[in-house]
Symmetry: C2
Subunit: 206 residues, 2 copies
DNA sequence: ACGCTTTCGCTACGAGTCGTAGCGTAATGC
DNA sequence: GCATTACGCTACGACTCGTAGCGAAAGCGT
């Protein structure tokens, strides 16, 4: 029960880390050029310079591969301290919008979310590698705002968790809908208006 | 230049309206059982009791067919007058959430939006048959609220249009994200919390 | 009743993708 | 050297795609 680490020193030839990187990069490239529906694993393998069988040895299918390829795009997401809650929100929303403006994120992210409606394992994979990271930003931003005194400290932890979930759905949902459904850019002007409404909704006296 | 109506009295055998209904119903049924990716036009044709060629004569492909099939789900969407802006919003959001709770809407709607990221004609079709109808509800609700005095009348029409777009992205985006990404139901409790924040953001003094 | 026109159901087809199996070779640890 | 695993390559059956061709059916005008 000891060696269960993922990269345990197993005997035999190790998997090429370069191949992993090449495959994920090729997947994003194919997403840009072909989109989700016309992306084939054979094509990705050719672009990456690996055999198709190598691809199937590491990923069980198109869904899992694209999740990993898209997840790397969210690595750059962080929460810079801009001094006020409003500025922090605007900053992170603009970062999120910049990622969603990239074509590989647009087609890839939406597609895997679609597939996840019928695949619980895939949904868990998305949550672990993408969604939870975003939610962490919401938690961090609220913690900062409470330290600044911009938000009251939470009393009920359960109520607090519900509020975080709600804020997260509102932020991510609005940006995604603006970018992908309305088809218009989430630029600074839009983000300012959105932040304005959200912030007043959170802080105004009832 | 006279007879340009879509169903002009053309000579020859008319298209079967019953076949249209059967095909769209079969498409929704297949969406429930198979989901988007495993749905094939041949299977839909078999379920509907029509030939595959008939399907291709009326729709150019899977995307357009599913848009029409899903669009019918939104026919029931309306804005009941509940007496206050808060109640109106809660009512229509709950209706929207009820539609998104159906599996054929979950997999179908998200899938066509995904495909629309690379297909402008498809995006226009979605906007015409689904999105614009929802946006109309936002306009109607705001108009009512202004008559009641719950919202101030708009001065700048351009600013007004921007606000409507923003509200629409926030409402639809939050419900979609809650339902499809977070994977939790947009039940009454959640809708109350959401409406509370949105409404305070819209009406609280700055 | 008769043609004209369009739709419909059916069959068949080449093209493309899928996911897997088999084989020989390359890379690592003992 | 030897065991073990990863890799590249080829080939395969099964499936879906979108289209073409055909004869039959259903309307409309004369």
């Amino acid at each position: 029960m000891q060696s269960r680490s993922p990269a345990a020193a197993r005997p035999g030839r190790p998997r090429s880390a370069a191949a992993d990187a090449a495959i994920l990069a090729a997947t994003r490239e194919a997403l840009v050029e072909l989109g989700w529906s016309k992306l084939t694993l054979g094509d990705v393998a050719t672009r990456a310079g690996v055999a198709k069988t190598t691809l199937y040895r590491r990923w069980s299918g198109k869904n899992e591969l694209v999740v990993d390829a898209v997840a790397e795009l969210f690595d750059e997401l962080c929460l810079p301290d801009r001094g006020s809650l409003a500025a922090d929100i605007e900053g992170v929303v603009l970062q999120f919008a910049a990622i969603l403006a990239r074509p590989e994120a647009r087609s890839g992210l939406m597609a895997v979310v679609t597939e996840a409606t019928r695949d619980d394992a895939l949904r868990a994979r998305i949550r672990a590698s993408i969604v939870d990271r975003q939610k962490g930003l919401v938690l961090e931003g609220r913690s900062r705002a409470q330290q600044r005194g911009e938000l009251p400290p939470e009393a009920d932890p359960e109520e607090s968790a519900r509020t975080v979930d709600l804020i997260f759905d509102m932020v991510a949902g609005a940006v995604v809908h603006r970018t992908l459904v309305s088809g218009r850019p989430a630029d600074e002007e839009w983000v300012r208006g959105f932040t304005h409404i959200l912030l007043r909704g959170l802080t105004a006296p009832s």
